[in-house]
Point group: C2
Chain length 332, copies 2
Amino acid sequence: MRIALDAMGTDNRPLSDIAGGVLAANEFGDTIVLVGDKRMIEAELKNHAVETSNVEILHAPDDIAMDEKPTDVLKLGASSSIHVALEAVKNGDVDAFVTMGNTGAVHALATLKTLRRIPGVKRPVLSALFAINDHRMIFLDVGANTDVKAEWVPQFAMMGSIYAERVMRCAKPRIALLSNGAEEIKGNLLIREAAQLLRHSKMNFVGNVEPVELMTSVADVIVMDGFVGNIVLKMFEATTHYVATLLRQEFRNDAFSMLGGALARPAFNRIRRRVDTSQIGGAPLLGVNGVVIIGHGGNSAIGIKNAIQQARSAVRENVISAIRSGIAQELT
Amino acid sequence: MRIALDAMGTDNRPLSDIAGGVLAANEFGDTIVLVGDKRMIEAELKNHAVETSNVEILHAPDDIAMDEKPTDVLKLGASSSIHVALEAVKNGDVDAFVTMGNTGAVHALATLKTLRRIPGVKRPVLSALFAINDHRMIFLDVGANTDVKAEWVPQFAMMGSIYAERVMRCAKPRIALLSNGAEEIKGNLLIREAAQLLRHSKMNFVGNVEPVELMTSVADVIVMDGFVGNIVLKMFEATTHYVATLLRQEFRNDAFSMLGGALARPAFNRIRRRVDTSQIGGAPLLGVNGVVIIGHGGNSAIGIKNAIQQARSAVRENVISAIRSGIAQELT
């Protein structure tokens, strides 16, 4: 298998990206195609012990900044690492693309310029994997579509469900809608209409869930609109950081607390890992003609390796053709 | 001043409600009018040392369950504690109403049956007060309107701003919209349209904020639609509870952690208080003809006393007539 990895994705590009790619190349034995400036990648690879036959370089002279707007990205030439890598997926040179780069840019370039939508897909959707007490969920949409129509939602649910089943190895994924209350009368217009559609579908829809249920294991595929999904993820991150700040402040307050904090350092480290979603590495952009996994720019080499692992499973488990069949069935 | 307090609001009605009312009556010297079943209230009052001249009872034989739907509430008779109390505000028998009861019921009965909207108000709005590191913010809407029109948003901002200035004593409240990114191009359709309206108004609009900025002090009045606002509050609560669970689990993991946790117990208690929004007591329903403060059903007596304190400030600072003038100016 050949996986393209954006060498220019993370906040400290290309260091973490290449380190993650090397980890994956050595561990999985697949070919990792590092996409970015050839000379920069070659220079950085010298710092790593790597099975060179497992690593290739695909030259792309430009990269896309994290704050570049999707609309501007579309006007750029085709020489950015994201564009070059997506073309490679499209042409079959590689089996999948993994990036920690600008999500909006990947979404725009994949959907409008390179891979394009799977026929019948109304809107591609960005997902995020979320782990609570070892229970993994896929959230979608988390940012591709800020104004979602109810009729798109069953497709989001179906694509998320296929991913959960094949890649996350969840036997019969339970689909839920995120709402402001579990009762049917709760929700905004979108949620009430989407719930109707899901209830009347053959999908395994278990109803609406509230935020508190995201911290349990009552559902596996959580569907929401991209605006809400993005805010929910950011709210989780902001709240855990805030609590961490409070802990640091209060544990510095007096000698007993300081001693307590020092003794409990391993406990704190375990907690940090348990709320750190970057361990998961990334999540798929679903609905385009190819496997694309997008992760956070702050990811470590381990996170990137995990994202590559997901791409491998998605390719091996034929996620794209499963989605194609799902959509085709829906259309008949 | 005379403040009506719903004796049947909290989850352990009437105990916490009456305890909170008694605290307020003794501390503030105002008359607290307990609204609920007369005999039940009289029986419970015997357990308290209270300056009886400061406490009155307004009989209301029925109460509204927490899970009663707003639509059903409207069909009920006028004998529930919420309905009776709102009528008392309307008739001028009391100056304000404080309740820890069913928010949807209060909203429906106040807006459609009793107090009704201030002339010119497009939609009344539910708020929540949020405190981060002693910085207080007012969030609105947090649940009254799940499908918000952009043209309502400037009024939400104006009403929140008046409350922040007069009751929260914030000198020149900074208004922000909650969005999925600070940039103008971010947001859903509602947020982009609402931002336009606010930018072209005379209000002190400081732009869009992301969830991470809710944990800072960059703005005072945070406007969002009621669906998102409700989920944001619940996400904060769910996340802090989740982290608390992790802390308990990990601190039980080994002897060092257990000892550390025991030493740091006061630090944990301080943190619990700092993330516990119930200390604030409640927040106003804005846009109706009267002061109405609604709090969480899990509130303690202290929280209820604090909610009553807010009602007192709102009455003393003429919040309702300030909103009336604000709306009137807007209409000219």
